[in-house]
């Protein structure tokens, strides 16, 4: 059973630039990808490491907050930091991102405030941040539906004339994130149809984390997931999702294609969800420790740390600062999440429509009146 999860093409070659032990991988096949990371300095790598560490800390704190009853639910991203940070770091600021609901690492890179990221999970907001501020859309909970939104957005970018301008500050692309399970949904497949036919500048970034809640990838597909794109005429690639440099490189390639007018790309990042599906889930019911151990040894953060050390890019003072930064993040989350209040009751009716709607207006007025009246009635009600 420990191997079942990785049945679908675990023997398929994937783009890898850094081995689990932190050594650079140099093959004839990955030469073009090596070129794409050649310009990254030690500082760039440390920045990615920082993003990954802060994302992991965010995850741990959020999980703890949920345990303490401060969040209704939380979906852990642990293990997927390389896929998220690597792809996220390849984006230009003007590129637009459609996450699913587990892309905390992407949000970290894009600069979405950590407290805002938890409003949804606290049950205080259905979204939580302003998408325009960071060109990062809200989380989408209905599996796969954002694939179409991303494709449509990319069709808008085409109409804005922001593809193939040759200006790296203007050319714009879209990245949509979804999981292995999501590939079974009609919407993801229709997204590929529309993207292919329109040659839309969108990257389909599938994190194959081996599980869709309790179902292994073998319940969704019988060939490696990255093959899916090819059937639609969308160039496709499988990448080691625990190798942040490889994820950066394949995303950079896909974005270059999109920016220059080459159209969509399908990326499968082969990774692992190290935690539970959400805090409501109990993975011991469906997967075994051997499998978890196997992947623990491939922890993406450890791998990048090893690379930094191997290349003398590790700096103890910097590491200590990062520790302190993570500490401060944790402290801030513990404090500020608790302080998030509840919206006023009337917020229930706000922004259902942009313009007045008679029924909403009446019901809002009715509830306000009712609440006012029953406020005074409290004692009477208790008597009942």
């Amino acid at each position: 059973m420990g191997t079942e999860a990785t049945d679908v093409g675990s023997d398929v070659p994937l783009v890898q630039l850094v081995a689990p032990d932190g050594a650079r991988v140099t093959t004839a096949e990955n030469a073009a990808y090596r070129d794409r990371v050649a310009h990254l300095t030690g500082e760039d790598l440390r920045r990615m490491y920082r993003d990954m560490v802060l994302t992991r800390r965010f995850d741990d704190e959020a999980t703890a907050l949920q345990r303490q009853g401060e969040l209704a639910l939380y979906a852990q991203g642990k293990g997927q930091e390389a896929a998220q940070v690597g792809s996220g770091r390849a984006l230009a600021p003007q590129d637009y991102v459609f996450p699913s609901y587990r892309e905390h690492g992407v949000l970290q890179v894009r600069g979405v405030d950590p407290v805002d990221r938890l409003r949804l999970f606290r049950g205080e907001d259905h979204g939580g941040w302003d998408p325009a501020a960071t060109n990062t859309h809200l989380y989408t909970l209905v599996i796969g539906s954002q694939a179409l939104h991303a494709t449509g957005y990319a069709m808008g970018v085409q109409r804005d004339g922001l593809v193939g301008t040759g200006d790296p500050g203007r050319d714009t692309a879209v990245v949509v994130y979804f999981g292995d399970g999501a590939t079974s949904q009609g919407d993801v497949n229709e997204g590929l149809v529309f993207a292919a036919v329109n040659n839309a500048p969108v990257v389909f970034f599938c994190q194959n984390n081996q599980w869709a809640i309790s179902e292994p990838t073998t319940r969704q597909a019988r060939v490696p997931i990255y093959k899916r794109g090819e059937g639609f005429g969308v160039p496709s690639v499988r990448v080691d999702g625990n190798d942040v440099l490889a994820c950066y490189a394949v995303t950079a390639e896909a974005l270059e294609r999109a920016h220059s007018g080459g159209g969509p790309t399908f990326v499968e990042a082969f990774t692992y969800r190290m935690g539970a599906h959400t805090t409501s889930d109990d993975p011991t019911r469906y997967r075994d420790r051997a499998e978890e151990d196997y992947w623990r040894k491939r922890d993406p953060i450890d791998r990048l740390a090893a690379l930094l050390r191997a290349e003398d890019a590790w700096d103890d003072a910097w590491a200590a600062e990062l520790d302190a930064e993570a500490e401060a993040l944790g402290e801030r989350l513990r404090r500020e999440v608790r302080e998030l209040g509840a919206p006023p009751t009337s917020a229930m009716f706000d922004e259902v429509y942009a313009t007045p709607h008679a029924q909403v207006d009446e019901e809002r007025a009715w509830l306000a009146r009712y609440e006012e009246e029953t406020q005074g009635d409290e004692s009477q009600e208790v008597a009942r």
């Binding site: 009609g186 259902v352 429509y353």
Partner: protein
């Protein structure tokens, strides 16, 4: 006023044309709407005039059409999606219900969804399965959507322009059985106010109120003619919208007439008439001389063409209901 006699379908064409002209971020999307001009020719000529990037022949996938329209809206475009027939909107139901309707709310108003979904709906044209249905109740129950249906060429023109201009998503239901009916349309009028949420008294009267929308307004008006000949004065209220519903106009009428019959093509069971009846009864309890009666489709799938005239609410069945109301 420079009125022209136009068919209902052509009035929509002209409304779309006016929208495309006045805002270059307006797009039309759908199956066969380009070179063919749509199976009902409502978009005839528009691709030629506005190009393939603005009048877009999409892949054959309704969820894809609405889902990409949502994405386009996020990028600032205003898409008008054509669904080829009523029965083919359901593959898009998820995108409409869980995404289009809720995106603004989910974002606390930061994101706007100016998307129009045009659906030729209703029966009476002798069509095969899935081509004659009236799904309005399935949209009206979902908050975040506006659900409208014009009954005259002028309203068709005014309402499509208002729908395209609306910052809210609008389900725009076109009574396909009326497409070929003609009437005067003033194409130069300023954009009409309130046509997406104000009912219209299509004919004043004093003995009974007939509430209708879309295709059944004509039925109600014919019934009112027949009733007038018998000495009964029927007021006909054209709701125009089933979300929101302009209850003040209906209630005002029923308070005066004391009787109310609601007419729609959709099945009565769990249909829009239930909402109208419930609410009118709440507001007019002491004014009502009879319960609000409903005339509409039966709780059966839309039948074969050979039987549709027995299924649809006819003038006779409206008169029968009025008789029952009067003799209550």
């Amino acid at each position: 006023m420079t009125a022209q006699k136009l068919t209902f379908a052509r009035a929509i064409t002209e409304g779309l044309r006016a929208s495309l002209e006045s805002d270059e971020r307006v797009l039309l999307m759908g199956e066969d709407i380009g070179r063919l001009g749509g199976v009902f020719r409502v978009t005839d000529g528009l691709q030629k005039d506005f190009g393939e990037d603005r009048v877009v022949d999409t892949p054959l996938a309704e969820s894809g059409i609405v889902g990409t329209a949502i994405g386009l809206a996020l990028r600032g475009y205003r898409s008008v999606c054509e669904i080829q027939f009523d029965g083919f909107v359901f593959p898009a139901f998820d995108q409409i219900t869980t995404q289009l309707a809720k995106m603004r709310y989910r974002s606390r108003g930061r994101l706007e969804m100016p998307v129009v979904i045009r659906i030729p709906y209703g029966g009476g044209i002798g069509a095969v399965e899935h081509h004659s249905e009236s799904p309005e109740a399935l949209f009206a129950h979902t908050a975040g959507l506006r659900v409208v249906s014009p009954s005259t060429p002028q309203d068709a023109y005014d309402m499509i322009r208002a729908a395209v201009a609306s910052p809210d998503p609008v389900i725009y239901l076109e009574p396909k059985g009326r497409y070929w009916s003609k009437d005067d349309v003033d194409l130069d009028a300023a954009p009409a106010e309130g046509v997406l949420d104000r009912a219209r008294v299509a004919r004043p009267g004093s003995d009974v109120t007939l509430v209708a929308y879309g295709p059944t307004v004509a039925t109600a008006l014919k019934a009112a003619d027949a009733l007038a000949a018998e000495g009964t004065s029927a007021e006909v209220v054209d709701l125009r919208a089933v979300s929101p519903i302009d209850f003040p106009t209906v209630v005002d009428s029923v308070r005066r007439t004391g009787r109310c019959v609601v007419v729609h093509e959709a099945p009565v069971f769990h249909g829009v008439g239930g909402e109208v009846a419930a609410r009118v009864t709440e507001e007019c309890f002491y004014a009502l001389e009879a319960p609000v009666l409903r005339v509409g489709g039966f709780h059966a799938p839309y039948p074969v063409a050979k039987l549709e005239h027995d299924y649809l609410p006819s003038v006779e069945r409206v008169l029968d209901a009025v008789d029952r109301s009067l003799s209550f």
